[in-house]
Symmetry: D2
């Protein structure tokens, strides 16, 4: 069911709160090429945003819950890009919740790590191929740390090396566990370590599971091909590389089975600012407004 | 027992076969500051190398086995930096095999990933803290791919992103399994994925195990402190960063326990050209020649 | 005069010889979003290319002159991206030769450094503001060195530092001199030093001239604004940055006058693969085929 | 004349004010390997520093003039690494002012751009080879912008591109002019543009002059070889590369003559934190204390 209806071919307007941050800036880049949705920078103010057909909240974590609730109360369709509403609102991962998103007026955009990890593991978890504990090793470019200058995202700290951060208890861990648990129908736990790597855009997740039943490479390749056959933004590739994901909304996936060791490895590469943030928000907005889900998102990423 | 004896304070000579490759070049840098060992570039020729007190073989994989055997036959102490002799010769990881190395005239230097992974996991495996299957997620700078220009180590392919490579069956996998199996006294299997990250020097390993018995953060920190208390090149740190390992022979280690999920994470950062290759080779040579193990290796890495 | 006519709204076809090189690959990316021109990879063969409405030659330097002459003889409109035909054919810098390009069937795309340097200096030279000798200091990302793996474009050689190359007599030097001499109507000489900088895409030129008459910052800013007032791809900015030029066809320009030292500095930033190669080739093709000059080229560059 | 005398073989102590900044941190790295000088972090306090045999002031620009004057008044030998005292105190470029430095107790360390630019141009200017106006195009790694996190030194702003900054009137401009004027004996003016390039350590200067008399490549190479024949830290190389200057105190120089255009190009590469800051400060301290000028500075830079 489509809750929000925009007349065919009409242009809709989207208000962007937090337009100067990285996600907000990327929303503006994407909407500049959108055939049906015009983006406007707005102050983080209910009245300003209520003039629009849809509101994107691209505010710092912690800053959007009150505004989000007011907009929802005012029946303004809203996509929140922060972590604040991910438990309460519709979880905006279209590959898992397409119908619910299309029928919702309040959608919480997933975290960037969660997007990649869930897409990498969903076929294995939903089919019961692996044990209910998985390891997720994440590597993010520095734009994932946000725009505000800090010691850790300064050039000289981040360049020319790699390091883990936030080793136990990163907030994306619970988000991944919650979705995978939903897919499996029983508890799944995730050990997750994020790493900061020296490039601007891009996020790679390498996920590891133990086989719970007989499974081989051929079955794995077929499972992923089948599971994502109709997904416009998921591509099974030989080797996921964040390099070629930049600027586009695609998620590159690969799966490898190590039968002698009874393990399976799944890797996913996305642009953390696009499929990991602004692009997925537009994909959600497209569903909420009844547009073609790929509208404004068809540009391929840079190949270099 | 010390098999090779150099008179106190005398200078010894080291021949380097393969001096133009990355490991050979780094050997020369380190030996230039060594108080007792002078390095000389040699052709990969038994007679040339037999003139020296010790030979370093820094040749491409596959090229040193015949030469190595001839030198061993001629009783020339030799450290081979390739993968060729790691099964047959003394495995040159001083933190595990110090006495054997000191008493050996034919030492095989470990692989860079293996060095970091084994040092990260040894305390856990030798104490039986974890189940005998571990996940090792490795990230290497591009110098690990060697000097010969290829498409994958060209700047535009490697820069501005991250990707896995050689996903199942990398030759370091068996090397790690063999050493960990030796430590445990029963089979340990390793799922290993190496990644290529955009910087010159540095290698990070993030290793994941499942707890086999009650264990917490305090016990883990104490275990590592105790296990490596007398090791000159192993430092327990809050967060391993390859950035600060550059140029030095240190291995930065950290361990984190996620009790709710019954997992333990261990991370190790080294300079792949130093502790992962040339520095460790010098450390081995120091042991073989009866020198102070740290001779020529005391310079701290660059902090930036 | 328009020599080639394509019926309004009809789709034209473009053959690309050299589609696997960097410029050829970028042509395909741009043409995938072009409203009127479809790109097809072709072998470097006159018959294959003669089937198309226009041919792009993106072959290595030295490989396109014979093929180019055959195509021109067969009256196939052709844009050559190599250095081979820049003296003989129409010089494809639309900001200087728009009408000639629109009336030509054989256009030589300028070099990347030449594009930036000429756009930076044209207002000053054509107005006689500066002495007829200029200094051009160029900085290019590594994609400018082409796709073939060599020692100099390997990651470890190019990363984490900067260096000049080809210090006297780079072939772009003569190309810049020729165009500036044309603008001035009397000889202009250029001292040019290219540098290789550690990023994929982007080229910056910093050009220095000595004032030949009274001139100040206000006059300079006004001169550039006026000179480029109608140019769709030239933007006067506060500070040119290659970072924000990536992926787009824009040329960012700035000019500063140092009156006490009687010098003027002009800087230009482009994406070397777009305005410096494939994008400018499409811009030329648009003019040759009577399309809107900006067709397929309106996407803004990545801001990050 | 040596003003400060330390007994032969005795260890001297150096106090470092500002030890947590980049230059102060690098001073500590260098002094850790110094045979005669022990570094100690001190508060920026006259009494603390007056206990030492020499004081290094590595404070932010503007913060050291008062402290510097007090220490000089207290007859504590002092090397100031800021820009504050460069007009009043002995200018600490040993290649130009060795004797004055050795006889001084108050030395101002040159700026990093100034060091490279003056060493690149000194032979040409002092011999009257070029016209008294030169162009200096500088490229610095991001550590040159200091440690404090700002928008411009954040990773995402600085990575993956290059840009000029501070285009007219950078404070190093006057510093370079002053020294070159001194060398020539009549006014020299400098047009200087600094650029921020995406790497941690390293600074390259490309300088351009117009020939004032007959001069060719052979004469230029000989002039530089002769001028710097006895300099321990200046090397004439085929192509200066900041990559291989990292960590060492060397200055790589090259000079090229473009006779047809009557111009000469000189390029210099240094590590901005070593020869451009802390290393040169140690070199000055060595002279002031009567030590071997190269003490603690003989380690070669990283070759990778």
């Amino acid at each position: 069911m489509q809750m929000v209806v925009v007349a065919p071919q009409a242009l809709a307007t989207a208000g962007i709160a937090g337009s100067t941050g990285y996600a907000g800036r990327e929303l503006q880049r994407l909407l500049a090429a959108h055939p049906r949705l015009r983006g406007t920078a707005c102050t983080a103010d209910t009245r300003a945003l209520a003039q629009c057909d849809l509101a994107f909240l691209a505010l710092p974590h912690g800053a959007s819950s009150e505004l989000g609730r007011e907009l929802a109360g005012a029946r303004v369709p809203v996509v929140d890009l922060s972590a604040d509403m991910r438990v309460e609102w519709t979880y905006g991962l279209p590959e898992l919740h397409r119908d619910a998103i299309a029928g919702s007026a309040a959608v919480a955009n997933p975290g960037c790590y969660a997007t990649a990890a869930i897409l990498a593991l969903a076929p294995l978890v939903s089919e019961g191929v692996i044990h209910p504990h998985v390891v997720v090793d994440g590597k993010s470019g520095v734009s994932g740390a946000g725009k505000r200058p800090t010691e850790s995202n300064s050039f000289c700290q981040a360049a020319e090396g790699i390091a883990p951060y936030a080793t136990v208890g990163h907030h994306h861990q619970a988000e991944i566990e919650s979705e995978l648990t939903g897919l499996r129908g029983s508890p799944v736990t995730v050990t997750f370590t994020p790493h900061l790597a020296p490039f601007n855009r891009g996020l790679l997740v390498t996920a590891y599971g133990r086989l719970a039943r007989a499974f081989d490479q051929q079955a794995a390749t077929a499972l992923y091909a089948d599971h994502y056959a109709d997904e416009p933004f998921v591509q099974q590739v030989e080797m996921p590389r964040t390099h070629t994901a930049r600027g586009g909304n695609g998620c590159q996936l690969a799966v490898w089975v190590d039968e002698p060791r009874q393990t399976v490895i799944a890797a996913a590469a996305i642009d953390n600012l696009v499929k990991g943030a602004a692009g997925q928000a537009v994909q959600n907005a497209n569903l909420m407004l009844g547009f073609d889900e790929t509208a404004g998102l068809t540009a391929e990423g840079l190949w270099l």
